[in-house]
Assembly symmetry: C2
Homo-oligomer: 145 residues x 2
DNA sequence: ATTTAACCTGAAGTCAGGTATAGGTTAAAA
DNA sequence: TTTTAACCTATACCTGACTTCAGGTTAAAT
């Protein structure tokens, strides 16, 4: 059993955040000893899962639902898997989006390198795709899809 | 010259958002005709850049600074390039982070597939790395780095 | 026994990035 | 000409995820 302060230093999370998570229902049925929160291994495990789900961009209210299912045993395995599959898809989509953004900003960086070299943007303004270096044209096209 | 309504439909952005951007200084020196905003090609170009920078996760106040530099001609090319290089690094870091998160959630999905197949988590609880399929072990290890 | 550290609650505050509302002006269409 | 649509400002409100504050309790150390 751990106190909120111990958990706070274990996870490098402020005490206020842990209390907030508790208030939001992320630790259903956590024990209390004369009013004081007692974090067991179950809550430690829960917190690892919470950190994972947060990193995928899941909202607190959805994490709450997941943690509730975790209390309900094998009957909710499928629900939990489905939620995770959905988050996996969301993460994959986000990675695709970020790669596109990377191409866009790669092009912009190249643009300003050229502008610095030229001292102006005139050549760049009238530049056509076929005059760009291949990798830059590729980044440009992918970034503007 | 375009009205705010025309720009709104061109960019699929609410009129209120464009006014908010203007208030935040994202269109320095935009013209007015008897009090009404007149978006020129310069503002259209600016808005494309704003959308790009927003996608990289840049905050409004930093975008404001960038757009101010754009008003100041070739003297600020280097500042602009440096800011873009910094954003590029930020995007690359975010992609690395998201790939790690993807590995983590890939492992969790596998975990629940197994739990569904087994009907419980007993086998999983006592599972060691060497008993996992290679790709899953890889995902697990990378996701927990 | 008392001080101090760590815990508790409820309510209010913070921040970013908008969105909504109320009340008023401009300009295009009927 | 009058109505209606699109514009304007200022201010208030919203959401999510916390953080801070005021005031009070518990438990550990001296």
């Amino acid at each position: 059993m751990y106190t909120i302060g111990q958990i706070s230093s274990m996870f490098h999370l402020p005490v206020s955040t842990l209390r907030y998570y508790d208030k939001e229902g992320l630790f259903p049925n956590m024990e209390r000893r004369s009013g004081i929160r007692a974090f067991s291994e179950k809550e430690v495990e829960a917190l690892h899962m919470i950190e994972c789900l947060k990193k995928t961009g899941m909202e607190i209210r959805d994490i709450k639902e997941f943690m509730l299912w975790c209390q309900q045993g094998p009957a909710t395995y499928e629900k939990r898997r489905n939620m995770l599959l959905q988050q996996k898809k969301a993460v994959e989509a986000e990675i695709r989006r970020m790669n596109q953004v990377l191409d866009m900003v790669t092009y912009k960086c190249w643009y300003y390198e050229q502008a610095i070299a030229d001292g102006n943007e005139e050549r760049l303004q009238s530049m056509t795709l076929d005059k760009m270096p291949e990798n830059i044209r590729h980044a440009y096209e992918n970034g503007h899809k």
